[in-house]
Amino acid sequence: MTRLNARIPEGPVASKWTAYKSASRLVNPNNKRKLDIIVVGTGLAGASAAASLGELGYRVKVFCYQDSPRRAHSIAAQGGINAAKNYPNDGDSAYRLFYDTIKGGDYRAREANVYRLAEVSNQIIDLCVAQGVPFAREYGGLLANRSFGGAQVSRTFYARGQTGQQLLLGAYSALSRQIALGNVTLFNRRDVLDTVLVEGRARGIITRNLVTGEIERHAAHAVVLASGGYGNVFFLSTNAMGSNVTPAWSAYKKGAMFANPSFTQIHPTCIPVHGDTQSKLTLMSESLRNDGRIWVPKKVKDVEKLRNQSIKPADIPEEDRDYYLERRYPAFGNLVPRDVASRAAKERCDAGFGVGRTGVAVFLDFADAIKRKGHDTIDALYGNLFQMYEQIVAENPYETPMMIYPAVHYTMGGLWVDYELMTTIQGLFAIGECNFSDHGANRLGASALMQGLADGYFVLPYTIGNYLAAEIHTPRFDTSSSEFTIAAQAVTDRLQQIKNCGGKESVDHFHRRLGKIMWEYCGMARNDAGLTEALYQLTELRHEYARGVRIPGGLDEYNPELEKACRVADFIELGELMVRDAQQRAESCGGHFREEHQTSEGEALRNDDKFAFVAAWEYKGREVSATLHREELQFNEIKLSQRSYK
C-alpha cells in the first residue's frame, strides 16, 4: 500500500503548485545536455512536452506511429480549450474551473492535480497565441469565448471547429523548431512495444520500425508516455484507427499501475452507426449543443412515420416534440455534461423513441438557431461541421435536423500517476489522456486539450527536473546491456508467436467481437451479471485469439496487419481489466453507470463512503487477477454532493 503515495504537497490547495515549484530541485543547463529523455507520442501532451524539454536543453527522442508528428489524434479535437481567463467578465476563476472539473468528474479526481490544471490553464492560452494559433476573435481584436457542457461561464477558446488541429500544429511547430535545432530527434513510424527497466527504473523502450520491421532499442534517463487513450478497445470509437494502448499496457505489465480503467467517456454527439462494415465513428463537436436543440418525437406513431419516411422531422409540430434534455435538466438544458446527455439519449432510444433507419439516433436541430441568429452566423460557427456531416450522411443539416447518437470518445482511466505525473515505476512518467489524473469519472468538454497541454508545457518540465536532478551522475545507458537484450528478445518472440499461430481469422474479426462484448456489457450501462458474462466471453476470446488469428506478410517488412495484431492482443487483455474494474465499483459515478445504483429519477448514484477512491490495478500475470490498490481521495476544498444539473 505504501507504493501508492500521491506525494501531494502540503498546504492550501491554491498554493500547493507554487510551493512545489519553489522547493523542487533544478538541473543546471550543462547537466541537462547530459540527460536523455524519451517521449512516446506526439499529440498535444507528447509534442508540447518534447518541445518544452528540448527548449530546456535536455536531449529528447520523440516517437510516433504516424508518418508525421502532426497527425496524432489530438488533431481531431473540434470544440475548444478551457481556461479560466474570465475575459467575458462572467465570474470565472481558477477556483471555479477547478470546482466545475471536480464536479463534472463526479468527485472521483484528485483535488490537488485538478487545481493545478485550472491554475496553469491561462498560461496555455498565452503561449498558444504567441505561437500563432489563430483562435477566434471578436471585432475588437480580442479573443472570443463560447460555452461548453458542464459550465455556466463561457471559458472555451476555439479555432472554428478545428481547435485541436490548431493547438496541435502549434505544438508541432514548436517541436519542429527543436528538431531543427538538434535538441529533439524524431522517430516516426515506430510502434513502442515495451518499456525497459534497469534496476527498477524506466531506462528505455523497445520499438518496431514500421517500415523495415527492425526491432530497435532506445535508452534514456527517463521515459515519458504520452500515448493517448484506449477507446479503440470498443472497436468502434471516435479515436483514430491507429490509436492504441500498447505503450501504456507494456508499462502496466512492467509494474506501472493502471487506474480506473473502466472510466470511459461516451460522447453524446456522434454520427450514428450506418452498418456492419463501419470502421469508425465520427464526432460532431459538443459546441453544437450551444445552438442545437436535442429532441425525439413524443409519440410512437411519429417515430414509425419517420422510419418509413412518410413524414419529415420538420412535419412534427412543436408540441409533439420531446426536448428531453431541456425537460429533464432545465438549468443546463442541452449543455449538461456528456455522461448525462449520453445516458438520456440511450434512455429515449431504449424506450422506443429513437429516430433514423435503425431507431438508434436522436435529432440535433438547428432550425431555431438559424431563425434566431441567421444562416451566416451559424455557418461561421459550425460551417465545417455541417459540411462534414453532410459528406458522411448525405443530408443537409441546414434543412433537416442532424441525427446523432453517443459513441466512445475518451478514456478517463489510464496509468496511475502521482502529483509529479510519475507512475509507480520510478522514472516513468505518463501525461495527457494516457494517465488517469484529472477528469475523475467524466471529463468535461474542452478539458482534454487543456490537460494535454498543461501536462506537456507547464507541469512535466518542472516535475521531471525534480527527478532528473538526482540523475546527473548517471552516465548514458548502453543498449547492449542484458536488460535491453532480454526485452528486445521478448518482443521478437511475441511477434513471431502471433505471426506463426496459424489461425484462420483476420485481426479485425476478433477486434469487432471484442468491441461488441465491451459495448454490450461495459458501455453506457453496466450491471453485475453482464460484467460476469463479459469476463467469461473475454477470456474465451483471448484464448481463441492466441490460436486463431491469421497474419499475412513477414515480420521484416511494412505490415499493417501485424501492427494491428499486437494492439488487439493488448486491447483484449485491457478489456478484462476494465470489466474487473467496473465490477468492483459497485456504485454509479460519471460515465460509469451501474444499473443497480441509480436514483429514482435514473441519475447516477454514488457511494462516497465506499468508493471515494482511485482504483489502481497491479499486474500479476496473464492468468492471474490483477491486484487492486486504493488511493483514498481527500476532499478538503469541495463538499461532495449529488451532482445536479437541474
Partner: protein, 257 residues
Amino acid sequence: MKFTLKIWRQKNATAKGEMISYDVAGISPDSSFFEMLDTLNQNLVMTGGEPVAFDHDCREGICGTCSLYINGRPHGPVKGVTTCQLHMRSFVDGDTIHIEPWRAKAFPVIRDLVVDRSAFDKIIQAGGYVSVNTGGVPDANTIPVPKEKSEAAMDAAACIGCGACVAACSNAAAMLFIGAKVSHLALLPQGKVEAAMRVQKMVACLDELGFGLCSNTYACEAECPKGISVANIARMNRQFIGAKLFSEKEKTVRDSL
C-alpha cells in the same frame, strides 16, 4: 454495390510496382472509400493474399494521413473532401476504379499506396514556426488581432499537410503547402516578427527535398481538400521578394558603412 479495382501494388521502396485488378461486391453506398478497401483487405487476408497497404488514421478528414490518386485525381472525384471522407455513393455501381499512390519525387513510395511525406516535416522544421519558448509570453489579449486577419490566418492554417497539392501539380511543387504556412504566420502580429527570415528559409529547402517549381496551373487549389487558396502563394511570393529586397538593402547599407 460492386466494383472493379485496379490498384498499384509495390512490395517496397525499391521493388518494381504494377497495377493489379481486384473485384469487390456487397459494398453499401454509405460505406466510406476505406471501408470498401477494408472489405477488399479482409477478403485478401482470408484467401491467403496480402492486403493492400494504404495510409489512413483519423478517418474524419483532419489528420491528413490519407492520400490516393483515385481515377487520376488526388482524394478522388468529390471536391473539398479527403479520401477518408469519400463515400461509395459518389461512384456508380459496377465502376472500375483506378487507385494509385501520390506520384512525386519528394514522396517516394514505401509500399503499395503508402508514401513517405517526411519532406513536409523538413519544410516546417526549416522555419514554419514562431520562435518562442514555453513560458515568458505576454497575456493572450495584449496584442489585438483584427478579426479579418485572424480569419484569413485560420483559412491558411486549415492545411492538413496531406500532400494533394504536390500530387496534383505537374511539377510536384509544394508552393501551396509553404504558402499556407507562410501566410498563416505572416498574417498574425505574433508571426510577423520573423516573417522575412521564415519565408527565405522555407523556400530555400525546396530544391534539395525534390520539389519542383510552381506550375502556375492552380491544380493545387482545385484539388486541395481544405480549399486552401492560391492567394497564399501570391502572398508568399510577395513576402519572398520583399525579404530578398530587404536583405539586399541591408547589405547595401552595410557595405556603405
